[in-house]
Symmetry: C2
């Protein structure tokens, strides 16, 4: 049964006139009530605790829009929070910009907006400014979302590749591959999809605790597109040090492992949306691990390797389960489009 | 002649692997060199003069990508600068997020990136953080761009609907309709296209001067989508006051007027990308007008009306050229999609 035209987004909803106003006031504003948004100024005014801030942006084009464990809305909030979190900041405010294809059902838009509102509330960040554009049917795929995020720097914390030194330990906050394998399995419509679940989550409460309670965190990154392999290669490339990891120590859910094996993916290359890699000084590695394991988002955290001097070329070396050694390469990049 | 595959964006350029890295390091970073970007952190660190800031976002989906007077890149920089400028802020930093359709020619991407870099340089704002996604051919139209912007509040300045009072004067910084009519004419491929030129420009130097040199500016807005009609209706709606304007005083380029008349558009509803409306106290209206007229972007600034008490319903009333009165309504919104 075809839905009534009024149940769907029209081009006019992005025209800047009455229908735009209605879309914003009826569907968007009520979900994100806060003083900065209320009068729809051209720019939100924010009073921060500090004038040193972190600023980041990400666009989300994930397909399908809804997947086990999350949806494009939750992803758009959590992903941007995570970029602030791993940079050592406390997320404060997000912008929300929607590019909507004409014909999108309002019911779908509302589910996504609800999810955005819930994720923002859960993580105590405010959506303070936004934008809505519409494009003709066929000029986009349902909806693309951009969020930019502002956070305040956590006092006394400076993270960066330049802090990393030989001997530092590498902690991974949990299992890898969950998000990417969930999305790809739901796209391919294959059978084990119900057991796979995205790890999509906002990490700021865990990273905040780590930075508050320990002094040895030197660098963090969330291994999203390109997976753990890309993050570790970036560390090696930027520091010109060698990264040694142990395959046996990397937590992977058995279903994810099975799905990756079956479809021929290397789980190291698969995107995650609720995990981080932390490089920490050796003396605080145990503390960090304990803090992670006592937090709901870090129960399966593991020490997966260390940083060592480079003798020849800086590389990521993995001791394999069967006792060999393997170079983990930077993925080339065409494996999994539109996972975030 | 079909171009070689390597001259075009591949899906893999958004995969987070080697090709993503190459796209960012070879095409993007060299154009936006600044310390915040250099090491590609998950979030940029900014040290601002103030901890009261302005934050805004806009996505740009304009079609065609290039038009007389500008392109999607220039628009994406100027539009977001303008949202900060009219909010009474000094633009400091932008984020840049690209959603690119597989198959986009690198030559097109480079032209757009050059334009973004030039517009950012010209206006002394830095592109400090970014993101690049790719989607399959047919899942987007060439390229969509999001910029979010951060500015610092200009000291002593608070603008808002709540400052507006009866007797206040309305200044328009120049001609209206230029951007929207240029874009629509180039889309319809009609003949007068060469004489129409978008007004796409960043207004921060002019708004900054106004706010520095006078104390009577109460509210500003750039009349983009929905045009002057939408901006004035929003003022009337939010203040519950009547807005009176005079048609004869509204500057319109003759070519724009002719194009709008020919195509049946009301020039009041057409988008502008380099103009603002300012509501100012009566005693400083002349000063404001002079400042505008002495600035390259405000040469044709005009006093177009005033705010008055509402006797019945708050409305936008226009004294027409032929001596009548017309209610200017909020546009419905379907006239001109994808103009910005």
């Amino acid at each position: 049964m075809k839905q009534n035209k009024h149940d769907r987004i029209l081009l006019a909803h992005g025209g800047g006139g009455k229908l735009s106003d209605e879309l914003i006031r009826k569907y968007i504003l009520p979900r994100f009530k806060n003083p900065a948004l209320e009068k729809l100024p051209d720019a939100a005014t924010l009073n921060l605790d500090s004038n040193t801030l972190a600023f980041t942006t990400d666009s989300y084009v994930v397909k399908p829009l809804f997947f086990n464990g999350g949806d494009i809305g939750k992803l758009a909030v959590c992903g941007t929070i995570n970029d602030l979190a791993v940079a050592g900041a406390k997320p404060v405010a997000l912008s929300l910009s929607l590019i909507i294809e004409e014909g999108l059902e309002f019911s779908v838009l509302e589910r996504i907006l609800d999810s955005i509102a819930r994720a923002a509330d859960d993580n105590d960040v405010a959506i303070v400014t936004g934008d809505t554009k519409t494009v003709e049917a066929g000029a986009a795929e349902k909806i693309f979302i951009n969020t930019a995020g502002i956070g305040t720097r956590i006092e006394g914390v400076t993270l960066g590749f330049d802090k990393i030194a030989p001997g530092d330990k590498i902690i991974l906050s949990g299992t890898i591959g969950d998000h990417g394998m969930t999305v790809i399995s739901q796209r391919k419509d294959i059978r084990f999809q119900t057991q796979l679940k995205s790890d999509c989550a906002a990490l700021a409460s865990l990273t905040g605790e780590l930075l508050d309670k320990t002094a040895g965190v030197k660098f963090m990154r969330d291994p999203t597109r390109g997976g753990l392999a890309a993050t570790l290669n970036e560390i090696s490339k930027q520091t010109r040090l060698t990264v040694q990891i142990s395959e046996a120590d990397i937590p992977v859910n058995p279903t994810v492992r099975a799905a990756a094996d079956m479809l021929g993916f290397d789980v190291l290359n698969i995107a995650n949306e609720g995990k981080f890699v932390a490089v920490v000084s050796p003396d605080c590695a145990d503390d960090c691990l304990n803090i992670c394991r006592n937090h709901p988002l870090g129960k399966q955290a593991a020490l997966i390797g260390q940083i060592t001097e480079t003798t020849d070329l800086p590389l990521v070396e993995m001791a394999t389960k069967i006792g060999g050694k393997r170079i983990v390469q930077m993925p080339y990049g065409r494996e999994l489009p539109r996972i975030c």
